[in-house]
């Protein structure tokens, strides 16, 4: 290569490098974003710059997180990384998300026996301390990987999980057998409300309230689209969106929802939340520590408490006709030491309904 060509090459190298590092550095002065819709989380905002934060090292730690969150064209870079992982590096997953056609999955592996054992001990302690007068039932919701066992991707040992769960002091209701992969969204962890009536029936039979369940033909379906599930954001790849269907009945229409985290009364479905960070929040107003559903259109005088995670939000509306009141408790947000002061235990039926993913991280319970 002659001298001039070499000079041109070196100038181009310097030019490309400086345009990129200076250009992207200047891009960081653009207005900060508050939330990442795709990842469904608030983005880190500019850390405080003062003598205290600088000398304590807090500023050094926080500024990197801030710049990562507010980097120009961040979503494009995330997509580039996913494309790299799947198509260049031929990785079987990208940040634990993997794809099969239009379906996105998250690896739930391995089974963390210490977490499950903690969850079982925690549940038995709740039963012993608060539920001695109640009929206690429990069930486990399989995550979507359960239906992909034997494939290329590792899955937790579901048999071991179910056998460990036998130590819970209650009546087990097996719902694995009435679920298939098609009962779940393609881009989200959750099950579809329109597909889980058999689950409600199975629970209703086991808990002796089947005759009070609203018949399937009394429901009216309403759809909301497009629904971009949690895995879509995590995959950072363009996937086919889902549709959310919610089912109303005379019983759900008449139900009144109250909770500790909001004032007044709400309906079973808060459709306006579809435009929020998580479309699945339309069911029972999303994640809530304690919720009470009062069913005004039922002749049942039974009451139910469900210790639950987010899956129950779309299932509970099916149980509305079968109980006079349903109390939903999410132990991730309520400390067990204050449970007596926020829930009145007086012999209601109790259902512990957790997903396998929740059991595998049950140390989140307070």
């Amino acid at each position: 290569m002659d001298k001039n060509m070499n000079k041109l090459k070196n100038s181009l190298i310097i030019g490309v490098f400086f345009v990129l590092i200076v250009g992207l550095a200047l891009g960081q002065f653009a207005q900060d974003n508050q939330v990442s819709q795709s990842e469904r989380r608030k983005l880190t905002q500019k850390p405080a710059f003062n003598t205290e934060t600088v000398l304590s090292g807090e500023y050094s730690e926080d500024i990197e997180t801030y710049l990562l969150d507010q980097f120009p064209a961040r979503e494009k870079f995330r997509t580039l990384q996913s494309v790299m992982n799947f198509y260049i590096w031929q990785r079987m997953d990208s940040n634990n998300i993997w794809l099969e056609g239009d379906k996105a999955f998250k690896i739930e592996y391995p089974l963390k026996e210490d977490q499950v054992a903690y969850g079982i001990k925690y549940t038995n302690r709740l039963i012993e301390n608060h539920l001695s007068e109640s009929k206690v039932y429990y069930s486990i919701i399989p995550d979507r990987n359960y239906f992909m066992q034997g494939g290329d991707h590792p899955t937790m040992d579901y048999d071991r999980l179910q056998s460990m769960m036998e130590d819970i002091n209650g009546t087990y209701i097996d719902i694995f057998s009435v679920l298939t992969l098609e009962d779940y969204y393609d881009t989200d962890a959750h099950w579809k409300q329109e597909c889980i009536y058999p689950v409600a029936e199975k629970l209703g039979i086991a808990m002796g309230v089947k005759d009070h369940l609203t018949p399937w033909e009394d429901y009216t379906a309403h759809t909301l689209a497009p629904f971009y599930g949690v895995y879509m954001g995590q995959a950072a790849l363009p996937l086919k969106s889902d549709t959310i269907t919610y089912l109303t009945s005379p019983q759900t229409d008449a139900a009144i929802v109250t909770g500790a985290e909001f004032s007044g009364e709400k309906e079973v479905y808060t459709v306006e939340r579809f435009e929020g960070l998580d479309g699945y929040d339309i069911y029972l107003n999303g994640a809530q520590a304690i919720l009470n559903i009062e069913c005004t259109n039922t002749d049942s005088d039974k009451e139910l408490i469900i210790f639950r995670d987010s899956f129950t939000s779309s299932l509970a509306p099916y149980l509305v006709g079968a109980y006079k009141t349903i109390t939903l408790v999410d132990m991730r947000y309520v400390h067990s030491s204050i449970l007596d002061s926020v829930v009145d235990f007086h012999g209601q039926d109790v259902l512990f309904l957790y997903s396998t993913s929740m059991m595998n991280s049950s140390m989140l319970w307070k």
């Binding site: 181009l12 310097i14 980097f71 870079f77 031929q90 990785r91 940040n95 040992d157």
Partner: protein, 462 residues
């Protein structure tokens, strides 16, 4: 501040480069010194004072030595400097190791200090020591101005993870250096390659190692896969950091020594250590091994010298017994090679490579083990003594998932890419290909960092 961090790449580096290039030459050293102190302060708010003390101490000692050359005072100053440096290293890096071993041996209960390890202390104390020793030996002149000495000690490209740059390497460049287009472009190229090696390969292999440690069920094959992945990870991690340091050095007109030269193509442990962390090996050779007499002494003393150097090399890497054993392992292998089979190894290419790779894999498993118990457990797993299956579904999954990364890493650990580059270096297409590669490496590394990928740096713990 990691070189492979957004704050470094898109805040610190552009500001420092632009500031450096627009300032007049006479102000550049001061600017670079301040930038280097800011760089260190960003990670170590308190220990920046330790860095200043270290530089000041050796600057004063060296000036004294130069002014009293040949006298007993000069020797006393040298000893004083070495004692201060080793005391600093001993206190901040090894004190809790010594306390816990004394507690274990004597059965007492001396509380640990839990003093945090200052970033890069092993690197900058070795640099300052080499400076004072070289002044004592007459190989270098003591600097009269403290600011240039401080620049040498704190120079941010090599401050926290080497290469261990000796003062004699930089003596002239500290006063006068060329910073032309060729140098800057070569520096950018080297830096970009290092960044890609670190973020795209080393971090990816690190994820595989992390997955191995978190796996529900492992197998004998998974143990070996881990051994290969970790050996490649540490090579790509550390050599990438050296590439970035050398590259940035060039951008500022400095020429740092090379630190790695494709160590995995070696045919013996002896050759491996001529190619791995070369600046550390040569430091121990020049400041420990040769002063002890090197190989120009009786056989017993020669063996003693090798043993001392390699136990110190292991200990330099970390305050734990597995590092000491790691160093001792190499010492023993080097002695055995020198006494018995080095010449035989050089004759057979295949056997010597298999021999070298087998020993190096074992050594890095020991290096990365969670203490001695962890090392024993890892070795039992590797050799099928833990009742594990030969292979299982998890192993196949990770093998498939990381196959391309591993293949690229293996190829990248040989000079093949370099040979291909030199074959095309003079072609016209490189006028576009090289700038394009720089841009692509930078963007891909940025994408990986933004996606929140795993981004530790192994040699920071040393």
């Amino acid at each position: 501040m990691l070189f492979s961090s957004i704050v470094f790449l898109y805040a610190f580096l552009p500001i420092v480069l632009i500031g450096y290039y627009i300032l007049p030459k006479k102000m550049r050293n001061h600017f670079l010194m301040i930038a280097s102190l800011v760089f260190y302060f960003f990670g170590e708010q308190l220990y920046v004072l330790l860095l200043l003390f270290s530089a000041l101490s050796d600057w004063l000692h060296a000036v004294y030595i130069e002014n009293h050359r040949g006298s007993k005072g000069a020797k006393r100053a040298l000893i004083s400097s070495i004692v201060i440096n080793l005391s600093m290293l001993g206190f901040f890096k090894y004190i809790d190791f010594f306390i816990s071993n004394i507690n274990l041996l004597v059965g007492c209960d001396i509380p640990l200090t839990n003093v945090p390890l200052p970033l890069g202390i092993s690197f900058f104390t070795f640099q300052t020591m080499s400076y004072t020793i070289d002044v004592y030996r007459g190989k270098a002149h003591a600097r009269k101005d403290f600011s240039t000495m401080l620049l040498y000690v704190s120079l941010f490209p090599q401050l926290v993870a080497g290469p261990i740059v000796r003062y004699t390497d930089l003596e002239q460049e500290l006063d006068d250096r060329q910073c032309d287009t060729d140098n800057v472009a070569a520096g950018i190229r080297r830096f970009s390659v290092g960044l890609a090696k670190k973020v795209l390969i080393a971090n990816s292999l690190g994820e595989l190692c992390k997955a191995f440690r978190a796996a529900g069920e492992v197998s004998v094959t998974f143990y070996w896969l881990y051994a290969v992945a970790f050996s490649l990870q540490i090579y790509f991690d550390f050599s990438a950091y050296s590439d970035m340091a050398i590259g940035m050095g060039k951008m500022f007109g400095f020429k740092f020594p090379e630190n790695f030269n494709y160590p995995f193509i070696s045919k013996s442990i002896t050759e491996f250590w001529r190619r791995w962390h070369m600046s550390l090996g040569s430091w121990f050779r020049d400041y420990v091994y040769i002063p002890l007499g090197g190989n120009r002494v009786s056989k017993i003393k020669w063996l003693r010298n090798i043993a001392i150097v390699w136990i110190l090399t292991g200990f330099w890497h970390g305050a734990a017994w597995n590092f000491v054993l790691w160093g001792a392992f190499f010492g023993v292998m080097l002695i055995l090679e020198k006494l018995f089979w080095l010449k035989k190894l050089e004759k057979s290419k295949v056997i010597s490579h298999v021999y070298l790779l087998f020993l190096v894999l074992l050594s890095f498993v020991l290096f990365n083990a969670d203490g001695l118990h962890g090392a024993v457990s890892d070795f039992r797993g590797m050799f099928g003594l833990s009742g594990l299956s030969l292979i299982n579904a998890e192993t196949i999954y990770y093998l498939k998932s990381y196959a391309v990364t591993l293949i690229l890493a293996i190829i990248g650990a040989t000079p093949l890419c370099k040979q291909i580059y030199w074959r095309f270096a003079d072609k016209k297409i490189m006028v576009l290909a090289e700038p394009l590669a720089v841009g692509v490496f930078l963007l891909l590394a940025t994408a990986s960092l933004i996606d929140g990928s795993f981004n530790p740096f192994l040699y920071f713990r040393f």
